[in-house]
Symmetry: C2
Subunit: 497 residues, 2 copies
Amino acid sequence: MASLLRLPSLLKPEGQVTPRSVDFNAWYTDVIAAAELADYGPVRGTMVIRPYGYAIWEAIQDYLNVKFKETGHSNMYFPQFIPYSFIEKEASHVEGFSPELALVTIGGGKELEEKLVVRPTSETIVNHMFTKWIQSYRDLPLMINQWANVTRWEMRTKPFIRTLEFLWQEGHTAHATLEEAEKEALQMIDVYTKFAYEQAAIPVIPGRKSRVETFAGANRTYTIEAMMGDRKALQAGTSHNLGQNFSRAFGTQFMDENSQIEHVWQTSWAISTRFVGGIIMTHGDDAGIMLPPNIAPIQVVIVPIWKKGDEKSAVMEAVSSVQNTLKEAGIRVKVDDSELRTPGWKFNFYEMKGVPIRLEIGPRDVTNKSVVISRRDIPGKQGKEFGVSMDPSILVDHIKGRLVEIQASLLQKAIAFRDSNIVDVSSYGELKEAIAEGKWARGPWSARCFPFEQPEGAKKCFMTGNPAEEVAIFAKSRRKKLIAGAGIRSRNIGWRR
Amino acid sequence: MASLLRLPSLLKPEGQVTPRSVDFNAWYTDVIAAAELADYGPVRGTMVIRPYGYAIWEAIQDYLNVKFKETGHSNMYFPQFIPYSFIEKEASHVEGFSPELALVTIGGGKELEEKLVVRPTSETIVNHMFTKWIQSYRDLPLMINQWANVTRWEMRTKPFIRTLEFLWQEGHTAHATLEEAEKEALQMIDVYTKFAYEQAAIPVIPGRKSRVETFAGANRTYTIEAMMGDRKALQAGTSHNLGQNFSRAFGTQFMDENSQIEHVWQTSWAISTRFVGGIIMTHGDDAGIMLPPNIAPIQVVIVPIWKKGDEKSAVMEAVSSVQNTLKEAGIRVKVDDSELRTPGWKFNFYEMKGVPIRLEIGPRDVTNKSVVISRRDIPGKQGKEFGVSMDPSILVDHIKGRLVEIQASLLQKAIAFRDSNIVDVSSYGELKEAIAEGKWARGPWSARCFPFEQPEGAKKCFMTGNPAEEVAIFAKSRRKKLIAGAGIRSRNIGWRR
């Protein structure tokens, strides 16, 4: 046994995970490796999503799939190879995407006559097909979604946040009127917002993108912007009103009720595996990540504790009984009964993995028919409860209650963090000061997003002194690049959806 | 209203769908279009899977996902771009796959230093990663699965059956011993077999592939072979014992319990969107396809029937009540209340789409508080029931019972068809006769050995006329051995999994 413990471990020894408070970016890449969320693929900028990370993505899929179907969308699948000529048809689309395309030029051993684009997004091929399927207003609205991989040749990559290939869903709809399309685009950003708040416990700010960051081919892009633990902004989902840009480029027309031929009005909207990165970057501390119970692959981990050999069978019997109780109650529970690791090692490991609740069961607990509960979101003794009854009728409700509390508490903490880091500014000086402090500035001008929620009364642009129509959000973003004129550091240049 | 009815319809007029009994292949492509299962993509050989076809794939996914997890597998995701050098590492793998690769040679506007393969299957990249993750026997077995798209540059394509890009799941496992790997490969072909029988109502024949059709890189390939409606064989799923071929090529090693370094033993197994094609080709008649209730996106379609305006509200009220009753009972139900199509048109349309049960509700049914039921699998009057009570306590059980019957009946019919088309042969003459009649032949076959010394040039199977890679030695032997599937005309040349 001793020799096994000397084998190299995939997990860096405790302490080698950079503390979040010391270096946020180093912490992020460290926990992704140590919590076995993802790994680097062999091709530069690609990522392998490991089972624990993929299970978070599956939780996102499960929730959104239900919502998409409830709102009238059907899943389907479009080919990923798009003729190069399609990309060129919509002027701003080609301008936006051509620098980051992957091209297939050889197929079946032969040079292809026309290069094929590996889809960076599917508006062009969707419109090509919509043109075949739509004839009359009776074929509208056409509302579909696909779960797929997409490829964008990013130069600076980061696991989950920006990778050459990523997974996403992309919704595409066609409508008879602009109003319907606008309503749809807003409806979907609302679905995303609810998901972010209720499932991921991320208090995103929904709003409209500035013109600079509008999707290449859209008239208007709605966004949900999330504040990460380092106060940088992350674009966590977008919904586009495409107007008639693609329908004009691809001739997607219908006969309306008055027998007039019109171009359809369209939307598209997407959330990607980037959202998993957003969850990691929102909740966490020096010890690791914290997963909101609603999307945690493991909600409760049970660590059996026994020393003498004769303690083992009684402890394991109780552990197994509690496990079944929780499982039958629909709680995602895992028992770690490995004898190669100490309980202390396991405590650290599952804290790093962000499991919301840990149960410890030892010989004394078996005698008392009780368990010890630790909450991931409240470190130390304050988050511990001793002597909670093992009786299923008590334990299940107790755990379920705690999971609800943890879900709410993570959201509340994130809201408090966000609000304490947004400063209302009314002058260029105040803006500069806020940004210098790493905060977000909210003030009358044009920027990262224009929040739906607007203060009452007349507003004046703090830059020019002219009347301002809207209040905007300003923020540093992960990518240290300045948007011309806007004064915002953005994490999202080149990431258009 | 009249003018609308003159608009071109996506659906070919009845009668333009080639009858199945006249031309099976034409029927297949016709129903795929008319039932809106799939469409052709803009790039040769690609396919768009439309919502109705995709929902069948989702039913396959839902079932298999549960079974994969029950048998200890976790989902994850590997990048689709594989360095070309990886493909070359396993000798028979590169030989098998290199003729049908799609290659990315340009990324982000620049010629790449190393060409990237768009995955045709993932053994190579999986092994590259497994080598990083596996150190000790404690890391084994490693059992994962991914749902993904794959690309093979096929020259002759057919919707669902063989397309340039298709969707599949690919399982990959690593074990400490050959025995474990063999057990896993057999377990997964068993999962596929159960799925085929119980969900898809396809009585597949599980067996071992001949060497010619063994997966490029496997020691042994297990297959489920299905007899289509035209008596051709379809390879519907495969499971491979890869031995140590990939672990040796990629150095995937572990320290065993005796501190010895060994190569892992591996399996891989897959089912693809081809299975949807298999379902279509198994069940059906001149009127269209027939979907087994367990995987039918719509299990019950309700067609309201009314003529006079004042009949409508009572009928629609009853329809809506029945719809809710069935929906609450977990039955997948659709109401087609379009006023642009006649009930007769709808009858034909949903028969073509293979919906297992149709309910008709008209004014007289409302008065009698009853419905008319038609079974898709029993055409004409024999499949009709009149006066079935609308009372939820009666109707739900009645419908559920009928769905179970239809599921069983489709399987029984397919078994009868299969068995009447497999001939037991005991001589070369009988074999030739069976093959000439388009049947499958089953007979004792005792190739004593496949000589190391093989003649040069192309070879043709002297029994089936299919390409043969090997020459075998035949001789009378004491033990008669039965090999399932020997002498089957195969639709699968070039389709290795």
